[in-house]
Amino acid sequence: MSTTTLTKKEGAAPVEEPVLRKPSTRKRLVPYWLLLPGIIWLLVFFALPLVYQASTSVQTGSLEQGFQVTWHFQTYWDAFTEYWPQFVRSLLYAGTATLLCLLLGYPLAYLIAFKAGRWRNLLLVLVIAPFFTSFLIRTLAWKTILADDSLVVDVLNALHVLDVTSWLGWTEGERVLATPMAVVCGLTYNFLPFMILPLYTSLERIDGRLHEAAQDLYASPATTFRKVTFPLSMPGVVSGTLLTFIPASGDYVNAELLGSTDTKMVGNVIQSQFLRVLDYPTAAALSFILMAIVLVMVTVYIRRAGTEDLV
């Protein structure tokens, strides 16, 4: 600032200084202009509803008499004590589905990244091909796939797989539909692409010469994977598991369509509190509890995975 006033006093001599400054101020503002649409979007569709939700969660009243903010935090405690089994179930189902997605998705992403050659793009299109159909229709299709007289269930029965899963409590008798396994299958199927794509991206970035270097330094292919490939794909593993786990833990469509009353997840409870029971404060409180739990788990997970250390 002081230089600007000085140059003005001294007259024409260092003219180039203000000339240089003008575009630089404009340039400095460019990032903010670029951010603006996103910020407005977030404000209107995320921050404001969140504040509204938070206020709802501490209201009391009824639909007939209207709701007032009474700072009734008791709702949180009541909601949690009443519905904790659904919370546990949500995290369990989402966790299992995430693990299954990782186990199914990693080999596939590895294949596409390193071995697919000219088939790479086709395979990637196939990975996202399910998105061409609606989420609901795909989930409904699983109702047919897992129906009692379907081929899949017949085969599983014939192989006595269902005996084992029933003993574990995942299925009931000769049925798959309306059991925990059906819900987890649906979740796994629906969120698999969200696992594969980030995994693929991080695997594809790995320099193939690092594999050669590892093998040159006495690492067998298995050790090379353990010590080089997998650690370097950690950013993909972390973002893939987050993109799967977070939406899966709040999902209610799979439990609704493929499960039974015994497989209700917290998403189902929130949905019915909002739309059927019309107990808005409880529904809002449940949403916040779920959000808090996921936030804490994700923070711990990212800290443990140590991705900020990776290049």
Binding site: L210, A213, A214, D216, L217, A219, V311
Partner: protein
């Protein structure tokens, strides 16, 4: 190390790297034609050639990263042809260094030792960091290091395993000129210190000549010539070697008489070539290529032609270009014997008359002349040198 030498000492092969009938074909393209090569134990061996000549493929076959189409590879008396890379007592310094980005420098260097189940690696890693002068960088990640430092880490990571052979794939290619010269000396020092066989792939002829005990010049998937740098330089067997290693003046000539000295005629003048410096085709007569290195030639102004000692080869011509390089002056001379002959004159006593347009006599000791088979491309290896810069 000692028991290894004692063990292999019994065998005729010693600890040498022996390639017999090694070739590599990708579909219809032959990257390496069947070649036999022996790299003596403890030597600094360079594979020199332009890009695509098969030198890197040869190196990768020794490392086990490429399966040879035919032939066998021996390390000492052991056939390693079918061994996967992680079972070969050979380590590679990659062109791109290929350091593991998720490990720090000391973990990178310890990688090979740990894979072989060695638990206490600290002492060795520290020694190795000392050897490559990076003791203070142990906890840095590779991306925090400069190119030259990364290159030294790559060398340390390979050397710590005491491989039977260290393979270097254009390890200095990514460095700027000054650093490259420095690293050449460094690598040579390390090699002398540890005494391990180094096989060094490069396209830089100067690098090969300054570092290596033996150089194999490769062209089109074949070894053109193999020998000590000075031998290759003084006695090239093909036009490719003559042009690729330094600069040669090649003159088309006709054989007049053969004997202990071969006498040829070129552009109306007679030149003598020592018989033992001619390839066999030359001694049979007919057309030949006569070669002489630019720095072997002296330049005299035409007026002083009489003072040139007898018995020297002479060629008359006219200077078309001269450039002052500091330590020397480079002249380009057109003559009836050949166009654009190169002459490097040391700047000791500069003759002011030697300017473009001046009539001159080029003269040199016949002992510095060599004769090559005329049935080959006179410009082979010329452009490639310019490409490599």
């Amino acid at each position: 190390m000692t028991d290894k030498t004692a063990h292999t000492g019994k065998n005729t092969g010693g600890g040498d790297v022996r390639l017999t009938g090694i070739s590599k074909a990708y579909g219809s393209f032959t990257a390496v034609h069947p070649l036999d090569l022996t790299v003596p134990q403890g030597s600094f061996f360079a594979l020199l050639g332009a890009s695509g000549c098969g030198k890197t493929t040869t190196l990768r076959m020794i490392a086990g990263l490429e399966d040879p189409s035919t032939g066998t590879i021996f390390l000492g008396d052991k056939d390693v042809t079918d061994l996967p890379p992680y079972k070969r007592p050979v380590n590679t310094v990659f062109q791109s260094y290929a350091l593991f980005p998720h490990m720090d420098i000391s973990e990178n260097i310890a990688f090979g030792l740990r894979r072989r189940g060695i638990k206490s690696v600290k002492k060795q890693v520290d020694d190795m960091l000392e050897l490559v002068q990076l003791g203070d960088k142990a906890r840095h990640k590779p991306h925090q290091l400069s190119g030259g430092q990364q290159q030294r880490v790559a060398v340390a990571r390979a050397l710590i395993n005491h491989p039977q052979v260290l393979l270097l794939d254009e390890p200095l290619g990514a460095l700027d000129l000054k650093l490259r010269r420095q690293m050449q000396l460094e690598l040579k020092r390390i090699q002398t210190e540890v005494g391990i066989t180094f096989v060094h792939v490069t396209h830089d002829q100067e690098e090969a000549m300054t570092m290596a005990d033996q150089v194999a010049v490769m062209n089109g998937g074949r070894v053109e010539q193999l020998g000590a740098p000075a031998d290759l330089y003084e006695n090239p067997q093909t036009t490719f070697v003559a042009n690729f290693l330094g600069t040669s003046n090649l003159i088309e000539a006709e054989v007049l008489e053969t004997g202990s000295d071969v006498v040829v005629t070129a552009g109306g003048g007679k030149l003598r070539v020592p018989g033992d410096r001619c390839t066999s085709a030359v001694r049979q007569g007919g057309k030949v290529l006569v070669g002489v290195r630019p720095e072997k030639i002296s330049l005299a102004h035409a007026d002083d032609a009489g003072s040139i000692a007898d018995g020297r080869n002479r060629v008359t011509g006219r200077i078309v270009d001269s450039s002052f390089i500091g330590v020397s002056t480079q002249y380009v001379v057109n003559s009836p014997a050949g166009a654009e002959l190169q002459v490097y004159e040391q700047n000791i006593e500069r003759d002011a008359r030697l300017r473009p347009g001046a009539e001159v006599v080029l003269h040199w000791n016949p002992a510095h002349t060599f004769g090559l088979d005329a049935a080959q491309d006179i410009d082979a290896g010329v452009e490639t040198v310019e490409d490599a810069g």
